[in-house]
Amino acid sequence: MIELTVNGQTHRIDADPETPLLYVLREDLQLNAAKFGCGLGQCGACTVLVDGEAALACVTPILVLPGRQVTTLEGLGGAEDPAPIQRAFIEEQAAQCGFCIAGMIMRAQALLQSNPRASDADIRAQLEPNLCRCGTHMRILRAVRRAAALLQGSGAAAFHSPSAKSAPGGSEAAGRNGSGGTEGSEDLRRPGERDLSRHPQQRERPER
């Protein structure tokens, strides 16, 4: 048994201490925002926060985590109460397939928590380990800049383009909003459902 604190809640996990955090999050705790991309710590899709710093859940064995605070995308906010960074990603429609977005958000969150006045160069340097294969980099950068502005409280209205949608209701979590593709929709399974099926028809698509 290993004790893990995730999103402020302590869980007793019955798993091999060598198990990667990502598997525990997805399989045991049904926290499916963090994605399995490469499994080698090379793509960033599994990024979560450990004590406020970006960490790659796929290469982090749970045995190093007792006493540490793990935060996942679900811990930032949900569809009803998105955190500023989630709002910013939604408002900029930063996701295309959405697979990288939870990781992008978490790494950006780590940066903005330690440096709310991060420059463009800071943002680019921070997000460098995270890959996006759709090529939405410019929208992601805009979203992080918007989040920085929101967090600085410099008047979200000033950064709110008239055409941007407000946070939609309906989808399970803000970070999943962009998960319209077949890969991303995998994570719309309900608590307890196993992550086995790869057929998108079996699950509902997120509402926009």
Binding site: L40, G41, E53, V59, T60, L63, V64, P129
Partner: protein, 421 residues
């Protein structure tokens, strides 16, 4: 009037100091060379420019003369020395802020003697103690290459040096003591390839600038040539007979390593050495080979190599972390550069200093910008200082048969501070 004895000594010392300073001042006095109209691209033969490009890569000009994210060769990169912070200068052919008004003679004088066009002494952060060995022909090719780059207007940044070092003519005294002007004289006891290697290693490639320990005046210590030392927050390994490599290097493995930036029986180039191997990927094979032959000769009596002594696990926590977080790549079936280097072969584990291993475990390994290369995730956010200590104690004992490094945790804290700056 009779002065007390102490007074005589004071006056004597002052007179001597004045005399030495006077001599230095006279020695330091160099004429400005005439400013020229910047030459055009048509003034140089294409093959000379191409040769100059290869030489610039061998000399590693761009990594120092380019600020992070800045224009190539436009200078502005900070170089921290024990004496203060020096900024590299603009060596694009911009007539105002670069070397556009330098004649070839002025360029050659800078390389050979460490004096700029206007006659000012240059700081040896510009490694003219090595570049002095470069031949006139190679200086001409380097000049042709640099003068045909895109001119960039970028004023030199002010160096941050204390008194008296900000007075440049003081450098004449340094040169008098430590500078041995070139060019390179071949050693007839060795063949042409060895001589080519010696010419490059000791000259343009300035390997000793990182790999040779320096004395308190910042000069390379000739008694410890290539003995390994800290440089730019990394440890530049010994590349003489004190090499700690587990498998002895030879000319073949060195040649591959220098071109590719990794070798499966040795590991990967990191930190400043990664910039070197990035550059060496673009030079002729024959030059890489020559460097490899000469460096293999330098290391030829290495005694440190050999199979590690088997050691019982000395840290169960460290062993568990290795098994869970590292072994998948480092103990798997995938060879370098797709998998990790086997740690019993890694000088980072067996070597004299902990800092390379700490840097890699904390920050990981990233491929060169825009190119394929080995990659490793960093563990700075997931391993605590204590966990890192357990892990490295295990690695060091199990894979190198050696005791833990002294003051390990202090090195870890220092490295964490650096990556947060």
């Amino acid at each position: 009037m009779k002065l007390p004895t102490g007074g005589h000594i004071v006056i004597g010392v002052l007179a001597l100091v004045a005399l030495v300073l006077g001599i230095c001042f006279l020695l330091a006095w160099r004429d400005a060379l005439p400013a020229i109209e910047p030459p055009g691209a048509g003034d140089f033969a294409a093959d000379t420019i191409a040769r100059g490009a290869q030489l610039a890569a061998l000399g590693g000009c761009a990594p120092c003369h380019t600020a992070p994210g800045g224009a190539s060769f436009a200078g502005g990169r900070a170089i921290d020395t024990p004496f203060g912070r020096i900024f590299s200068t603009n060596i694009t052919p911009d007539p105002h802020s670069g070397i556009g008004r330098w004649s070839e003679a002025a360029f050659r004088r800078a390389m050979r003697e460490g004096v700029d066009r206007e006659g000012r002494q240059l700081y040896p952060a510009f490694p003219y103690d090595h570049f002095t060995l470069v031949s006139d022909t190679d200086d001409a090719a380097l000049y042709a290459y640099l003068m045909t780059r895109r001119p960039v207007r970028a004023e030199a940044r002010q160096n941050q040096l204390g008194f008296p070092l900000r007075i440049r003519w003081i450098l004449a005294a340094w040169k008098l003591r430590y500078f041995h002007p070139g060019p390179y004289q071949p050693d007839t006891a060795h063949d042409e390839l060895w001589n080519r290697g010696a010419y490059l290693v000791n000259g343009l490639a300035h390997c000793g600038a990182c790999h040779t320990p320096r004395n308190r005046f910042g000069a390379e210590n000739p008694a410890q040539r290539f003995a390994g030392t800290e440089a730019e927050d990394w440890y530049a390994y010994a590349i003489n007979s004190a090499s700690q490599a587990r498998v002895p290097w030879d000319a073949d493995s060195l040649s591959l390593f220098l071109r590719n930036g990794w070798h499966d029986r040795h590991g990967i180039a990191q930190g400043p050495m990664a910039r070197v191997t990035d550059d060496l990927a673009r030079v002729p094979d024959s030059d890489c080979r020559a460097i490899a032959v000469y460096v293999a000769w330098l290391m030829s009596e290495s005694t440190a190599a050999g199979a590690p002594k088997a050691a019982p696990p000395n840290s169960r926590d460290g062993q568990a972390i290795y098994a869970a977080a590292c072994a998948d790549c480092h103990d798997g079936a995938r060879p370098l550069p797709i998998g990790g280097v086997r740690l019993e072969l890694s000088t980072a584990v067996s070597g004299e200093s902990a800092i390379n291993l700490i840097n890699v475990v904390l920050d990981g390994v990233r491929p060169p910008e825009g190119a394929a290369g080995p990659i490793m995730p960093g563990f700075a956010s997931t391993l605590s200082d204590t966990q890192l200590d357990s892990l490295v104690t295990y690695l060091r004992g199990h894979f190198a048969g050696k005791p833990p490094w002294p003051a390990f945790i202090e090195h870890v804290r220092e490295a964490r501070r650096r990556s947060h700056d």
